[in-house]
Amino acid sequence: MNALFKTPALYLTCAIFLGLFVAEPELLDAFAGLLISFAILSVPLYPAWKELKQPQDAKSLAVPRGNLADPSNDIAEWLPQFWDGADTAPPAGVSVLPSETTHLSKASTPAADHWVHRGVALFLDAPAQAKILHAKKLFVEASTPAWLHAKEIAQLKEGVTLQRVQAPSILTGFSTPRNTGDSHARAAQPTTAKSLDATVDSTGSRWGLRKPTVVASRSKVVADLVAQKDLRIGAGSVILGGIKGYETVYLEPDTWVLGNIVARNIHIAQHCYVGGAVLAEEHLTIAERCCFGDPERPTTISADTVDIQAHSEVYGALLSRNRISVLPVNS
């Protein structure tokens, strides 16, 4: 800067400008306007320049977003699976519950984000204000916002609401469901694309349904169904492929779907079986005594909101982005 003031060119330029302003006073206004405009336009550049020279925020985004620091913990294998992309901070401490059988009441709930039960059975009798709860056998008798994980089985009592649960076997209510699919598989009659007024894609394995469609009871469909409007699968039908619905998909009682179901809304009546995933963009209702996946092929049920009646079973994961309600059978 000092060197600049020693430059004769600077003084010469100033002298020229001074001379111009004296000779033509209007130029002074124009020059002042120019300077003010330049200053205003430069204002946003100052923080930019500062950020460039002294970066405060130049790190790469953390990928993946969620990670538990302690890798020796059981939950470490599971936690990233339920990690919500919206959360960026890593989880806080883990509280370990050591006894064989534990009943968690309001008085005994520890103050921690993550609980790990090391014993055999954990009974959740009171709302647990935890973020994640892990046990071998988990019996949920009170609503909780915690994300639940069981190594063997999770039983959810009627009337509870929760958000996410994952286990090899998830039972709603406290009785065994009935899987009725096999007998219906034998009774169903093959259906053609023509009878459904469906278009067939170039691979032959995907049928397109442009209008609201009802598949007759006890039909057997050997392809994937893509429905632009509502789709109703008649009682006792068997779909060997998957289903995509842009609107609502209804499965009537005793329907059997081997593939996945993806739709805006899905309503599943009683005694249905779905082998693949059931993924609803918005709402999913499941009536009593339905079965999803099997022990060798676990699956995922997911939606914004899930209403599931008692006496159903899910092998795998039951997820919601808002809430899961376990309803009594007569609701």
């Binding site: 790469s60 992309g85 394995s205 893509v226 699956t299």
Partner: protein, 423 residues
């Protein structure tokens, strides 16, 4: 003069439409419900995967990519990793073979020594050697560094029988290197966190980017595989699949690190390649997209605008030329000043460096990195470079077509040191 005025009017209308499109994307991302149907899916009967790692002289990075994929939580009995070593002259072959020796059931390199140059041709040859029971192909460029849970996230949307291809999110890993990497980081945020997710939400047409993505094997076979005579095989495949009724699904949480160019010459070459490749696809698919019965009108409009996105820069420059012409040869009037205003706004605030500046700001904000937004005014430099480079690329493409020259591409130079070698 009338012709120039009309041309200017049409240009203004096109640029205005692009501006509206990006406002819709931005508002959707900021204020509307986000589509997250496949997020969190971790338990499925997972399809059999074959992963291709496209590698041509990638000794500096290929080991890291293989290592990351080996550590994936995807069931190993349903996974094969094929590093596609395309005529490399460095240690790529040696590094791939070291990993294959360590994990013989999992890593099965394909060393390509002949055939047409380029990624599409190499991938076609590799696809022919993939296991017959492959249900989904997943593609990574060798400089990508996938996280442990990425594969499941990319594959989950294939539960939808309409989905033919999926795309994950690309996140630069070398952000702090210099000014260029920092503005490219913001551009990537705008492109993925902003643009792609908005298109997914709006049931428009997200794009497959050729890496960090999966392709249903049945769909790839149905459309005849990769085209070897195009530079942008990813865009070409996107539109070919859409023509055949398959959908693209974008997964914003499937984040994968990549290395962005650290010098302007490398960035310019990359942009030239993208511009030529993308515009080549545009000429091929404009008409089929307009008449595609599998697309809704919203998807058609978005697809057409996606196809034309690399013409926006030349159109903006043409607009300025027309504007100056009209200014000097006819008396200035309100129409000219209005045009100048809109073009100026479009150039700076509207379109920015391949993404609207406001869209960039919204996306970076959604990423939780608002402090780096202070750098946004300097993005104008990136915009000017992009505008000129894309225009050059477009002109070059026209010359290639007219003179019937074969399209040539420049490989993007890697800046990472040799940091990963299997031991």
């Amino acid at each position: 003069m009338t012709v120039a005025t009309w041309m200017l009017g049409i240009l203004m209308a096109v640029l205005f439409l692009y501006g509206v499109r990006h406002y819709i994307f931005t508002l959707n991302r900021l204020f509307y419900k986000q589509k997250r149907t496949f997020e969190g899916v971790q338990t499925l009967q997972w399809p059999r995967l074959t992963i291709f790692i496209a590698a041509h002289n990638e000794e500096a990075v290929v080991g890291t990519c293989i290592e990351a994929l080996v550590q994936s939580d995807y069931p190993k009995d349903r996974l094969v990793i094929i590093p596609v070593n395309d005529r490399s002259k460095d240690r790529t072959k040696e590094i791939c073979d070291q990993w294959a020796a360590k994990f013989p059931e999992l890593v099965k390199p394909f060393h390509r020594t002949e055939g047409r140059a380029g990624k599409p041709a190499a991938l076609m040859d590799a696809a022919a050697r993939a296991p017959q029971d492959t249900e989904v192909f997943v593609i990574f460029d060798a400089d990508y560094n996938p996280s442990k849970g990425l594969l499941k996230q990319i594959v989950a949307p294939f539960c939808d029988p309409e989905v033919g291809v999926t795309m994950g999110r690309v996140v630069p890993m070398n952000v702090s290197k210099n000014f260029l990497t920092r503005i490219l980081d913001m551009e990537r945020s705008a492109g993925y966190q902003g643009d792609q997710q908005a298109r997914q939400n709006l049931a428009a047409a997200p794009q497959f980017g050729g890496t960090v993505g999966g392709i249903r094997a049945k769909a790839l076979r149905a459309v005849g595989g990769f085209r070897e005579d195009v530079l942008a095989e990813d865009t070409d495949l996107t539109f070919r699949l859409m023509t055949h009724g398959w959908k693209v699904s974008y997964v914003n949480t499937a984040e994968c690190y990549e290395e962005v160019p650290e010098t302007w010459p490398v960035r310019v070459k990359q942009l030239m390649r993208w511009a030529k490749g993308h515009n080549q696809v545009m000429f091929s698919y404009l008409r089929p997209t307009l008449t595609n019965p599998h697309l809704t009108w919203r998807q058609r409009l978005d697809s057409i605008m996606l196809l034309g996105c690399y013409t926006v820069a030349p159109l903006t420059l043409l607009g300025w030329v027309l504007l100056l012409l009209l200014y000097f040869v006819s008396p200035p009037n309100l129409w000219i000043w209005a045009s100048a205003g809109v073009l100026g706004m479009v150039a700076y605030g509207g379109l920015g460096n391949l993404a609207a500046f406001y869209q960039t700001a919204a996306a970076v904000h959604l990423d939780g990195n608002s402090k780096r937004l202070r750098l946004l005014p300097f993005n104008f430099i990136g915009y000017v470079v992009s505008a000129v480079t894309i225009t050059r690329g477009t002109v070059n493409l026209v010359k290639d077509v007219v003179l019937k020259r074969e399209l040539v591409w420049d490989k993007t130079i890697r800046f990472r040191k040799n940091e990963s070698q299997s031991s």
